[in-house]
Amino acid sequence: MTNRDPILKIENISKKYGSKEILRSISLEIKKGETKVLIGPSGAGKSTLLQCINFLVMPDTGKVYLDGRCINSRKKKELYTYRQQVGMIFQDFNLFDHLTALENVSIGLIRVKKIKRSEANERAMQELKRVGLEEHANKYPAQLSGGQKQRVSIARALAMDPKVMLLDEPTSALDPELVGEVLNVIRNLVESGMTMLMATHQINFAAAVADEIIFMENGTIIEHGPPQEILFKPKNSRTKSFCSKINEIYGDMLT
């Protein structure tokens, strides 16, 4: 496989809840080391799309390929192995409430990857260091700030050595003063060459780190392209109005 082949490819993913169409035949692909950012209004289907990609929500139709292999989500073993390779970061962190920061990071290594506890803890500590939280290793989620929780959740995903990471609005549930610390960690990931698909409303951040921005609305991809194009010269009028609205809310950096 060459660098030009996509590491993650999805084809014609559709999802309905009742008669409401959430996703309408979405296709996209990401090459190794690329960062793609999903933007779009609430209800556009960004979260559902990310959750469909690792089958936390089962898509009605469509295919997902990792490293060129089509994933059969009905085969449990295959599904579990696939999910280990796809890191997921949630808007509301979803740290395991009964485990310390360190245990949150090591439990996947111990229970899923069946690594020895001592080695797992060592690795978990490395990941906590990477997100700057080694001195909080023994704290429980209830004792951490939102920003710290999200950084632990990033460490938890990284410990599994994912090939791709899916980030579902990782800063949306944070107080404004805590957004920066999480974005810094994500920026470091981008620089380290992690492959990522991220939904966010942080347009400025997206403009800075994304290789491509994908604008979604009503369950379809309206427009996609390099940040400069989508944010400054959108072809589609809906993209334009969304970007200007977001710009009003999140400040005047897009000038």
Binding site: Q51, N54, L56, K76, Y80, T81, Y82, R83, Q84, V86, G87, M88, F90, D92, N94, L95, F96, D97, H98, I107, G108, R111, V112, K139, Y140, P141, A142, Q143, S153, R156, A157, M160
Partner: protein, 224 residues
């Protein structure tokens, strides 16, 4: 004075024997009831449609029928289909099944209180459904269910007295026999009542210890 000698020579040894039987009934029933309750409660939330129906039906039946009727069924009813249980086994069976039905309700409530995000996070790491339950959901749910389950165990200590109705002579049974002979109902049953009170107090104290031992930040709601 006579009374004191009677109590020393007849009541204390008989009640002691009864107490031992009571404890032998209570301990296995409490443990098996709790374990079965956890399984049934889990099935009621995460089981397949068939298992859910089955476990819901079980709870309806065993919570809906008086325990004494259940005990009579096990002890006097089963022989009609060729199954013979000793009074002791029939009692433990009855207590376990009844207790588990109640436990399952506490466990079910606790399971439902675990946010879906916890499960999604585990799945996204590659946890199987069973491992998600075992390592993520149940450790949290059991902390939340413990006060309710403790309540059920305390209740079990008291309803274990029904065993004497199917001739498993435990504490209450011994007391009943003594009292019918001597007609000292008041003295004997005051003593028996006091013994149950002590048993319940010990159990409460142990359960409290357990709850406190399991307290972690974020789950300290139940700290007493």
């Amino acid at each position: 004075m006579n009374e004191w000698i009677y109590i020393q020579n007849a009541v204390v040894p008989a009640l002691w024997k009864g107490l031992v039987v009571s404890i032998e009934l209570i301990v296995p029933s409490a443990i098996m009831g709790l374990l079965l309750g956890i399984v049934v409660g889990t099935l009621r939330v995460y089981g397949s449609v068939f298992l859910r129906l089955l476990s819901d039906g079980y709870v309806v039946l065993f919570r809906g029928v008086p325990l004494l009727v259940q005990l009579f069924t096990w002890y006097f009813g089963l022989p009609h289909i060729g199954i013979f249980l000793s009074p002791f086994s029939a009692s433990v069976l009855g207590f376990t099944l009844c207790s588990a039905a109640y436990h399952s309700e506490y466990v079910r409530g606790a399971l439902l209180s675990i946010k879906r995000g916890q499960i999604m996070a585990a799945q996204s790491l590659g946890f199987s459904t069973l491992d998600t339950l075992r390592y993520i959901v149940l450790p949290q749910a059991i902390r939340r269910a413990l006060p309710g389950c403790g309540n059920e165990i305390i209740y079990l200590i008291k309803y274990s007295s029904l065993a004497y109705m199917i001739t498993c002579i435990e504490l209450t049974g011994q007391a009943k026999a003594l009292a019918s002979q001597s007609f000292k109902y008041l003295e004997i049953f005051l003593i028996v009542g006091f013994i149950y009170l002590v048993l319940v107090s010990i159990a409460s104290w142990l359960l409290n210890k357990l709850e406190n031992a399991l307290v972690i930040p974020g789950f300290e709601l139940y700290k007493s």
